[in-house]
Amino acid sequence: MDKPVLESIHIQNFRCFEHLDINRLARINLIAGRNSVGKTAVLEAIFLLLGAENIGRVAKIGRFRGLGGRNGPVGDVLDLLWSPLFYQLRTAGRIEVAADLSTGGERKVELTVATAPSRPLAVGSDGELLKPGATAGQVLRQRFTDSNHDESTFEVRLIGGELHIQPVPSTQPFPGHFISARRPPSPEELAALFGQLVRSKRVRDLDLVKILNIVEPRLTQLDVIPSGGASMVYGDIGLKQMLPLSLLGDGIERVIGVVLRIANAPGGIVLIDEVENGLHHSILSDFWQVIDRAAQTFNTQVIATTHSYECIREAHQAFSQNGDYDFLLHRLDRVGDQVETVTYDQEALGAALKAEFEVR
């Protein structure tokens, strides 16, 4: 079986991290820690790195946090989207996110804010800017390098209240998905993911109905059905007609959302914030069994955050039963102004859980 993509991750000057290393990554990883220690920020850093060829990711991670709308003018970009990316809002510094790859190489992305405009700004006879919202100095530069010595530089500019990216981003070498804690998947997204799996003929590698039976035992069939100009995934639970999955509960949406993203990221990474959201404790063990099988089938790496002791315990027990324990728990600890990583392997985590010791 192929190894998962990332072996380690190193973050500098990003969000709350002056410097953070996670030196070992497994196929399945859980990140725990207190509130505001930076669990989501780790996922965001990896998301930026995965899409290093696409600086638009910077705006996306803002939306995951509920900042900025989908369309329309962005407003004061530097304050809202860009400067909070930098450690202690120090936009004079440089963000670096680097990862060691299982292929033996390295991938790195650097973000800086340019302090001077590289094009003149038009001003009217009254001294006001002709393009409202255009402000000097609001250029975010992203430089991506990998161990093949490929290097690309992208810029995001605020022009006329809109973000402009140049050059046009290219596709990333391996797929990645970010599942936000705040934003559940839309029915259209689920339908699109399901459809992609059918199109690639890989839906047969998953028994989706059986997987969703862990949440809804009455489910017997799934189908994508156009409705009102959009397609949605419908499920048959024995009523006189099928219902959209969004009407069958948060749990079923959560499980199918995670599984479809894993299946649609072969050889890539799925990042999940607050993985236990919407899931009753009684199904956590089955959920992790499903994740383990799907991640192995599609060779996908999973990095998730959690607040839940039960979630950690059930993950450990599920992977221990499977014989091929490819799971690590990473806890982020704030030590003074710094954040450090503590990693539990199978032996340490098993001992902690057996002794009912805190690990979060």
Partner: protein, 204 residues
Amino acid sequence: MPKPRVIQSPKQLLVEGRDAEAFFHPFLESMGVSGVQIQNYGGIDELAPFLKQFVLSPQYRHLPVVSIGIIRDAERNPQDAFRSVCSALRGAGLPVPSKPLALAAGLPQTCVYILPDEESQGMIETLLLRAVSDDPAFECVDEYLECVVQATGVEPRPRDKARFLTFLASRPNIKPLTGYAARAGYLNFSSPAYDRLKEFIRSL
């Protein structure tokens, strides 16, 4: 679900099993010792993984933990028992003392006590028996166990545990568990048999 255990004190006393944990709480109270948190690491094979996770625990560096005392039964060989504890300490990256009762300097410092002592076979019950061996009930305890052997052909083992539990069964208000017996005052905490153990605990 009960709340997971957390490290709450810079001084930690790690003991072997629930009976030992139940014993040491009233024992430390009788000594007037506070500020030492007692942890049960389970059986002798569980000490190594317990220490490994213990040093990763959220409050371990935050407090920080400055002193760890480990108590283990000698079983058949006190020297082997001490070596086993040292191996577990080494595996967790902790300082290793040169001998039982010696302090290994560091952050945290560590210290090891082998029960009943560093030169004798036995277990916690061996030490407890030393503290109550003057009690007149012991005449009957040994006679009873001899009678059991004669009648059944089976010798209760371990012998010290059998003697100790038989002694507890002779108390006016029977407390079969060590912890309850300790709280009921049956274990004679003022006995000189405990002097070295008290010295060890004070050194934490």
